[in-house]
């Protein structure tokens, strides 16, 4: 039975964030002064905070999760983190607790920052997926009994270095004894065709690149589908982990649902 492995400190799971940092991510969102890159970083910081608070106990942070972050923009692909966290592809959640870049105050509460906005150049998505695949293959070798890792990809445009789909097809074959790597894609845009969330068939997506992203996305396992339904989404049994043409503000929700895949396995309640 896939996606049932219990998550513990000896069998953690991992989240890999793959973030588009191309030039278009610097564009302002709607009437705000904020860029897409700033929205993405805010969402990333929030999801890390949530994972840390879910793992924080009186004795400290339990390493139920590992997090990796790859950014791609211009011609380069590399860590989307700075400081000590940039030295390794995956870091345990306790290291994130230990090494924020800074801690701001928001609404009277601490708000740590690990991710800062980056935007410039082209969109080497294919290369980024290859880098992610290599890292995830190594992770799965290291943790064969764990709940499989989840890749969460955010982009606002089409790749500038070729079709990433064949790489992602190979990536989908990776996994642990508990199931294949989960791949969730979010495309942020402002097309008049309207947003598409958790589509169940390729026909629901009319855009050519959207169809590729649909095929690159995993069918939602039960835990994510349940988390999405609890938040009011219409999710059928074949729904994919895919948002297309959504506002950047939706990224927070997308990450929150995507990182709930493991909730049943943690028996969180």
């Amino acid at each position: 039975m896939p996606y049932k492995a219990e998550i513990s400190r000896s069998n953690p799971t991992a989240f890999m964030f793959v973030i588009d940092q191309s030039g278009s991510m610097a564009d302002p969102v709607g009437t705000t002064d904020l860029s897409r890159a700033e929205f993405v970083c805010d969402a990333l910081n929030r999801v890390v905070i949530n994972l840390i608070t879910r793992s924080s106990k009186s004795e400290g942070v339990r390493d139920y999760f590992q997090i990796g972050a790859i950014g791609y923009g211009g011609s380069s692909v590399g860590p989307a983190l700075a400081g000590p966290l940039a030295d390794k592809t995956f870091n345990p959640i306790s290291d994130f607790e230990r090494y924020p870049l800074r801690i701001e105050q928001r609404d009277g509460m601490p708000f740590p920052i690990w991710f800062t906005p980056q935007a410039g150049g082209g969109t080497p998505m294919r290369k980024a997926m290859r880098t992610a695949a290599q890292a995830l293959a190594e992770w799965c070798d290291d943790y064969p009994e764990s709940f499989p890792p989840t890749l969460l990809h955010v982009t606002d445009g089409e790749p500038s270095d070729g079709d990433p789909e064949p790489i992602v097809e190979q990536l989908k074959s990776l996994g642990t004894d508990d199931g294949e790597v989960l791949i969730l894609n979010l495309h942020t845009g402002q097309s008049k065709s309207g947003p598409i969330k958790f589509p169940g068939s390729e026909e629901e997506v009319t855009d050519g690149f959207g169809k590729i992203l649909f095929r690159m996305s995993s069918v939602l396992p039960t835990a994510i589908a349940s988390a999405a339904r609890e938040r009011g989404y219409q999710v059928n049994d074949n729904a994919r982990g895919f948002f297309f043409n959504v506002e950047p503000v939706e990224i927070v929700e997308f990450f929150e649902i995507g990182t709930r895949a493991s909730s049943q396995a943690m028996m969180l309640r």
Partner: protein
């Protein structure tokens, strides 16, 4: 009331300190309590312990207890200041401060031994189980194994959740008084959700019940049994706690 067995096994065998179940009684006392701290909340082990101690200490002293909504409010009013005081000593980092701000949650199963009856308060999915004189298995509050799949109602360390507890979720927790003549051998079993689900599932499928076996076990045997049942897939991997009470 005599506590004939009190056994527990942590979810992570290598981390017994992380066991968030708690069972508390006092020698010569007439009350005891079991609680299961929610894994997804901060320091729920302490919250579970403080809830058990608060219930037990209150009802060891009451001559003719009347379990009602006021008793839950009373337990919370005693427990919360203790917990808040404890939090202040440990929420020293930003992560603990944020985690603590979400509140802590735990079940509570409180039992009071009276001359002719046993009174039980049950909030959440920690259950009391007994055999009636006809040999039928009874349980409170959850009665079917499927009911364990729902998110349980839990007691929160902060009052902001009380409106749900005493409002829309009130039908999912409650009180029961059992005449002692209804308890076969005057025995009552208390257990947290993983074991409660297991026992009810066995009963529904007409499979052998483990109650007699567990009643004869010591702590090492219990931990071995729990590990074996987890590996066979019959028992959910969760903190697992069992107590056997004699109210003769």
């Amino acid at each position: 009331m005599k506590i004939l067995r009190s056994l527990t096994a942590p979810k992570e065998p290598d981390h017994s300190e992380s066991n968030e179940d708690f069972f508390f009684w006092e020698a010569q006392g007439k009350a005891c309590a079991m609680s299961d701290g929610a894994s997804d909340s901060f320091d729920s082990r302490s919250w579970a312990r403080i809830l058990c101690q608060s219930f037990t200490q209150i009802y060891n002293q009451v001559a003719a207890p009347q379990l009602d909504d006021k008793c839950v409010a009373l337990v919370l009013s005693v427990a919360r200041p203790f917990f808040e005081k404890q939090l202040k000593t440990i929420t020293t980092s930003w992560s603990k401060q944020l985690a603590a701000s979400r509140g802590s949650f735990a079940s509570l199963l409180g039992v009071i031994d009276e001359p002719r009856q046993v009174s039980i308060l049950a909030v959440g999915d920690t259950v009391a189980i007994w055999m009636d004189p006809q040999g039928q298995l009874r349980s409170f509050t959850l009665r079917k194994s499927l009911e364990f799949s729902k998110n349980p109602v839990l007691l929160g360390s902060e009052s902001k959740t009380d409106s749900l507890l005493f409002g829309s979720e009130h039908s999912r927790w409650g009180f029961i008084t059992i005449p002692k003549v209804e308890l076969q051998s005057k025995k009552l079993f208390l257990m947290t959700d993983a074991l409660g689900h297991y026992v009810l599932n066995q009963y529904e499928k007409n499979r052998p019940l483990p109650l007699d076996l567990l009643s004869s076990m010591g702590q090492p045997d219990f931990q071995s049994w729990v590990l074996a049942q987890r590996q066979s897939g019959g028992l959910h991997k969760d903190d697992t706690t069992f107590a056997l009470l004699s109210v003769d």
